[in-house]
């Protein structure tokens, strides 16, 4: 195994532990927003898509990368906006009550 792979595995495992610790206690009211919000974060594949689509010369890679850019941008923008829309409803009610 190369050093890069080892480093990647270390980062992955530690990040998983952080994720479990951070999210562990979550009230049912927030299950859906947590899901759509974390879903938006998984749109981070946009970063990978940009790197693959970045080449100036056209190739199959670039085309696939550009499709990935579109799909992951939908994921990111749609995910964050719809989460905000939901949380806004929760908030409005709080003010009223």
């Amino acid at each position: 195994m190369t050093e890069a792979l080892i480093a990647g595995i270390i980062v992955f495992v530690l990040a998983t532990f952080i994720g479990v610790e951070v999210i562990n206690k979550i009230p049912p009211t927030l299950h859906t927003p947590l899901m759509s919000g974390s879903n938006a974060i998984s749109g981070i594949s946009l970063v990978g898509a940009l790197l693959v689509a970045g080449d100036r010369n056209w190739s199959l890679s670039v085309i696939l990368g550009l499709i990935a850019v579109i799909l992951s941008t939908i994921n990111v923008v749609g995910g964050f906006l719809v989460t905000d829309r939901m949380l806004q409803m929760f908030k409005k009610k709080e003010v009223k009550a």
């Binding site: 080449d55 850019v69 994921n75 009610k93």
Partner: protein, 469 residues
Amino acid sequence: MNELIPSAIQISYLVAASLFIIGLKQLGSPATARRGNLLGAVGMLIAIVATLLDRSVLNYEMILVGILIGSGLGAIMAQKVEMTAMPQMVGLLNGFGGAASALVAVGEFWKVIHAGAVPPLDETITIILSVLIGGVTLTGSLLAFAKLQELVPGAPITFPLQQPVNLLLLLSFLACGGYLIANPSSQAAFLGLTALSLVLGLLFVLPIGGADTPVVISLLNSFSGLAASAAGFVLANNILIIAGALVGASGIILTEIMCRAMNRTLANVLFSAFGSKPSVGAGGSDTRTNQDKVVRSIDADEGAMMLGYAKLVVIVPGYGMAVAQAQHSVRELADQLERLGVEVKYAIHPVAGRMPGHMNVLLAEANVPYTQLYDMDDINPEFERVDVALVIGANDVVNPAARHNTSSPIYGMPILEVDRASHTIVIKRGMSAGFSGVENELFYEDKTVMLFGSARDMVTKLIAGVKEL
């Protein structure tokens, strides 16, 4: 200056990752959730801008076009989607995320091959993993979306020799993967792997349906994160690995919460094709005795009378309320009852609806104060002193058989104990069994009365009835 840019990008990634972690933390509490979501979005923006500074990203015009198209579509979807359709929306977005990650891996593979190079062993392995997870997430999510949108039947779909076929596909995948590791530049093996991943995704979701959907949606959410992580391994990019791992963890936690709420293991949910066939155990003796029993049906005016003269009413919403879009009417009914001095509470089962927290979102949309929403553990001890429990479009989660009938498939599942209330009104379209295929004994109890009709019509009639009291 030029040497500074790569370090600046890495530091920006670190900032973005920290913002994701803080954002997720804040999403866990109602008071800070909105800010948490915003922090996540800011982190994403930082990561994207930093990536655009990378030396290898030159194709700005096309990338800008791609981002504009994606943002437009995403914004429209987020604005237009009905709150009842949130499970589909999340399912679809999961699919897009998975597809993007798989495409990144495929694109990278092609790039290396066409540069005339042979991918090193560990890159080949990470590419295989990335294509597998991304592909399964894509087709699995699309099928889950189609089921929820009722483009295909929502019930579990099974066919003969399903498990052997799945096993065979998995073995072919491993064989293909082994071949690609031995011959890293084989395009045929690579295409085979891609196709197999896509088929596996379909077969994985095909036998799961209906009330098990919250588990699948959570699991696919987790997969979409793992897919991003895998793509991060392919590109040796830390922000992808970290963000993907965080999402993977959150999805797994929600999956576990959902499984626990049904008292079933994940493997049981995934592989048992639950509810696809009428269960033998509950059939035989039980249905026969049920046939002797009488179901009492009442009309809306009588129901309104029962509700209006109660002291404490607990409303139990289920998927039927979502399908009928009845959440606003339910809220109005509660308002009318409160006007008469009736105390109204809502009892939410963890797996009510088609995604975790589905009912909470719908009731929030209808402006129900979340202080009136009670979790199963908080409301169950109270049912003893509840005058009327009003069940709207829920079935299995209120079936007392889960408590005592050891032969029932839902035996052991924690339920909302509405049968302990003085009276129960069930709004339901017909006598059909719930998703589990089990008849609901609750309907035959002396204290239970049925209001047959669609949730929205019936609640509207109840409102009219209560207004006249």
